[in-house]
Symmetry: C2
Subunit: 186 residues, 2 copies
DNA sequence: GCTGTTTAACAACACCGTGTTTAATAAAAA
DNA sequence: TTTTTATTAAACACGGTGTTGTTAAACAGC
């Protein structure tokens, strides 16, 4: 099952490269991090880096892939027992996965984060939560702060969609929609 | 009023640099765009670029500043007549401003977009809409698509906040909060 | 409009990171 | 042990970077 045929040297190289890269990402933007810098920090030859990755962006993508594979594994193990899937539990699972990879997730989602990662998280959330929640129901209590976070980025999502649709709705319609959704939540 | 003391050469230089840069941004990611490339496209000496900007990221920030100043001007002109501010109208104004700068906004908010810009739009939306909407009320009709866009990015906002708060709430609480907000809107 | 002064744009320069290739070495796998 | 293969060091051409002093154009005063 587990492909244990991976050379130990490769394991080590990838490990230290990822570690050094993540350390650097906590200090500065990815665009300011040179491959030379990563290799020096990891004490790995630059040629070896190129044997595994094309550049920093390829490396960060591989790291993201690994993270998502990890999360998918957790979730599939959760849904494998044929019990009825309780949405709340499923979401809880996702948050637990995020918590387990807190350092990396925080890095990829924060200010200097990665828009590509945001999109992938968005897709994950969509697949695992939203699509299974086609039922209505009143949600009860909350911390006001989280509703704000929810509402704020929700507005941005609507604006993005509006632009992607080449603004085939009027500003008026959009304004009303945004106001509606906002007040609905608050 | 207008500071017309700006050298015509500077005006031209900045204009063509911004134009070339935006053209390139429509083709590839900012990280793949070299300063040399921008200058060749604009037919401007590289040294001249450095006289005005530090790098590509400085340039995009200046472009964003200009955009936001533009939007702020529109909005202040809108609120200057001491009529009561109708939130819907205000939001409509914002969307009209976005529409006027559609090309640039779409660029900065799309896949290859800028997280920094997202944050600034978020702040603008917060200041102009959310903070003025501390009243409740049922919002009526809608296009389902926009609610989805709103909900999806809203979840991401909650996750980001959760990570920024060092996850001082339990995964369970977060799961319940997300579910609550989601079903509330749907 | 013509002047001298200011300053923006320019060309040339040294520097550094990149990506690739070579042969040599060391370590893992069979 | 033998075979296979990953890592390494060194060298390479290439291209983008950021700064230098020089040239040319816009500005202010008359």
């Amino acid at each position: 099952m587990g492909s244990k045929k991976v050379d130990r040297r490769i394991k080590y190289t990838k490990m230290v490269l990822r570690e050094s890269f993540i350390n650097l990402l906590e200090k500065k933007d990815i665009s300011q991090i040179s491959i030379k810098e990563i290799c020096e920090d990891a004490d790995i030859n630059r040629s070896t880096f190129y044997a595994h990755y094309n550049d920093q962006y390829d490396l960060i993508e591989k790291i993201q892939n690994q993270l998502f594979e990890n999360i998918e594994m957790h979730l599939s193990a959760f849904t494998q027992n044929d019990l009825p899937i309780v949405p709340v539990d499923m979401v809880e699972q996702i948050f637990e996965c995020i918590q387990e990879n807190a350092r990396l997730c925080k890095l990829l989602l924060s200010e200097r984060g990665d828009l590509n990662f945001q999109k992938r998280v968005l897709m994950l959330v969509y697949e695992k939560i939203i699509s299974d929640l086609t039922r209505g129901g009143t949600i009860s209590k909350e911390d006001a702060e989280y509703i704000y976070a929810f509402t704020l980025t929700g507005c941005i999502g609507a604006i993005q969609k509006w632009l992607n649709d080449d603004m085939n709705k009027s500003p008026r319609f959009m304004a009303e929609t945004i106001i509606r959704l906002t007040t609905l939540v608050l």
